[in-house]
Symmetry: C2
Subunit: 455 residues, 2 copies
């Protein structure tokens, strides 16, 4: 339910951040505490996410104890682990008091196994059971996303009985839009939308108005598939069942929105060799090693390209203009190929691209690549002729660019599909693989043709 | 409300696509029609999105008339315009019959002004007014996202009256989770969650249980800000008001989920010079010109880098090994800089990065960049020494790589911020700007130092 404070909605994280840092600098912890006290848990979480590590630690200590749990559940995994690492078992149990089972499970999963076991045993029996119900499933499946706090009814009830039953509750679970209809064996039968409940004569039974044309989500469905279904059918909540169709829990749209965001970020971050779950404000000691691995891999591919150039050392020695022009062939191939690669990777992520339409997509990319190859190679040929006054160089660069741009289109379309077939993340490996191809083919065609022309 | 057919949820777009194309090839339009008839509008829309243009046209003709509108509203803007272009005014009005005002407004906005006016005048009075209510606002604002079909109540009512009032409705708007509480002048006062309505004694008044600590969304708020609020507070719906706080309509999470997806795609696509709204299966004649512009811009920056190399032609002539190694310096700078650039761009998109914490981020990137610069330049120095047996070359490449990798970290962090300050899209211009910097600095430092060493 929406419940932001006015201070919040006009809260621009950045302005508040500036004020906060000023208050921290001037040493008034009380001033900061007062500011934090006026904000919602979500805004406090935003502040923590946007702060460097040391300031994060300081801020955490100044947060009201009662909202610590709510703030913690809003934070990304990496930051949750950082904060948990500063707490002992008792503190952790206290922090998670009152949170939903799925949020507690999320937080616990950031802990080492031994610590998680300690915290679980320190919880109350009922809390532990609910959380273990969720922990039984992999984080990145429907079972890992679901919450077990659900309201279910039986189909034979009259609606007025249902209404009286609901009135006995102090409150219903957040975002309840449907009640779940189950049979005696707790097997999922259908849904009873609250809106239908409110607009139908109370003498009618649940069975008469419930929606049965529903396929519940199996607990082992991968989370990105769950997200796609939610986005496709505009669901707010969805029932989760086990293999016997017994109702286990429900997933709400807000859990899925996070998955959608991460999924979309995945391609962007992976193409640069980064992890989408990465903490933007991680300290150097954590960032540098990750970057080192990616740079090492790219250095190897760069050395491969250099080895190719080295094969034609003598030709470059003869015609130094080649050294001036050769990077153009390689880089234009890389730029064009990246466009194709990005289109295909996104198409695959959206589930649009597959075996049936790939060949059409490939020929479209080749067509577009060929047209642009002819256009820009001709332009470049003209520039080369004017610059160096040598038509041989012009012809060589035209031919090499045509070859490389068409190769780039082909590679950009085929590589992601091939990588996926080999169970390699196409976004992570695709960019490196593509530039390796366009560099090698670019240098080889340009310098190879030059060697032949200037033999 | 969820209502997929069983055939649907097991529907894997790609498998169905294969069967569909097979059926189309074998010429049985009836077979295809039968297949389409068994699917939900959302699945049909997916099929259309994943099909090449000609097949799309054929499929459109085979869709049941009654679901055409529902299918149309699920399609992305570009494909909507393609389909609308094949229809006359009467057909368009018929297709949009029964759709929500905000979905009709979305579709109409794909039409040229003249045609949109024609279609509007052909609608019924009430339909037209509702749609014009939404059209009054820019597409990419809260007003453009909202629907005007809302249920509101007055605060003085007892809940049993509210319940009787709801029962007189045949149905409530989709995804209704709150009723809106307004005063006599239609000014927004607060929310009445359905869950509260169902769990509270009916003799209580609305005023006693309504939630007033709510800041409604102004109609002119940009859609990405709306999306951020929804994601932050886990809203399902939110009220939209005008400057006088009069209730205009509501936004539901499903409209926002699309914005979240597009927003996230924006960075990915823009870095490759593509539009996130681009139709993956657009024909060559539309794709090629767009790619041409991007390639032209990149050719200019590549020529700039070549001009820099050309300044040092004589040095390369003397020491050909330089031509073999120089691309390594440039490309490593590009790779490292891209990582910094991507982290900052995503941080800015998530609203995490701003003036208060930018300097910390910059020093973290410089720190990580410096450590990696020392590591990989030393490695490369060793490789160069072994390969060419010349310690001067090794020292040159070490120095040049250190210079370029540190420059890359700096540029990757500063460029997106500078571009945003100049009101240029950092994702669109950032990549090109960065590689221009790392190429120029890479070649200049490497070849410049070589010229000095080998003077």
């Amino acid at each position: 339910m929406p419940n932001p404070v006015s201070a919040d909605i006009k809260f621009r994280a950045q302005n508040q951040l500036g004020e906060l840092y000023a208050a921290l600098d001037s040493g008034t912890g009380r001033e900061v505490q007062r500011m934090l006290h006026s904000l919602s848990p979500q805004s406090i979480a935003e502040l923590l996410e946007s702060s460097p590590p040391r300031i994060r630690q300081v801020l955490w200590k100044l947060i009201d104890r009662e909202v610590e749990g709510e703030v913690l559940q809003e934070l990304p995994d990496e930051i949750q682990s950082q904060i948990l690492a500063t707490m002992d078992t008792e503190e952790m149990v206290a922090v998670m008091e009152g949170l939903d089972a799925d949020d507690v499970a999320d937080i616990l999963q950031q802990l080492p196994e031994r610590v998680m076991a300690e915290v679980l045993s320190a919880m109350s029996e009922s809390d532990r059971q609910r959380v273990e119900g969720v922990l039984a499933y992999d984080e990145e499946t429907a079972g890992g996303l679901m919450d077990t706090d659900i309201v279910s009814v039986r189909p034979n009830l009259h609606l007025d009985v249902v209404l009286r039953y609901l009135r006995r509750h102090e409150q219903l679970p957040e975002s309840t839009d449907n009640l779940f209809v189950v049979n005696r064996k707790d097997r999922f039968i259908g849904l009873l939308p609250l809106t239908k409940l409110l607009t139908t004569d109370p003498s009618v039974t649940v069975r008469e108005i419930m929606i049965t044309d529903v396929e519940p989500i199996p607990a082992d469905m991968p989370d990105d598939e769950v997200a796609q279904l939610f986005a496709k059918y505009d669901w707010i909540t969805a029932p989760v069942v086990d293999e016997e169709k017994r109702l286990l829990g429900r997933i709400t749209i807000d859990d899925v929105v996070d998955v959608i965001r991460e999924d979309a970020d995945h391609s962007l971050m992976s193409l640069a060799g980064l992890d989408e779950e990465e903490d933007t404000f991680a300290p150097v000691k954590r960032t540098a090693p990750r970057r080192a691995v990616w740079l090492g891999i790219n250095l190897l591919t760069a050395l491969l390209a250099s080895w190719v150039i080295n094969l034609f050392q003598d030709t470059i020695d003869k015609v130094v203009a080649l050294a001036v022009l050769m990077p153009i062939v390689a880089s234009m191939g890389g730029v064009a190929g990246s466009q194709t690669l990005t289109v295909v990777i996104r198409g695959m992520a959206l589930g649009q691209v597959g075996r049936s339409n790939l060949s059409w997509l490939l020929s479209r990319e080749l067509g577009s690549g060929a047209l642009n190859a002819i256009l820009w190679s001709t332009v470049m040929g003209g520039v080369a002729a004017l610059w160096f006054g040598d038509t041989r160089i012009a012809l060589i660069i035209i031919a090499a660019m045509v070859i490389n741009l068409i190769t780039a289109a082909f590679a950009g379309a085929i590589l992601p599909v091939a990588l996926r077939a080999m169970r390699i993340d196409p976004a992570l490996a695709g960019g490196v693989a593509l530039t390796t191809v366009t560099d090698v083919v670019g240098f080889m065609s340009f310098l190879g043709l030059a060697t032949w022309f200037f033999a």
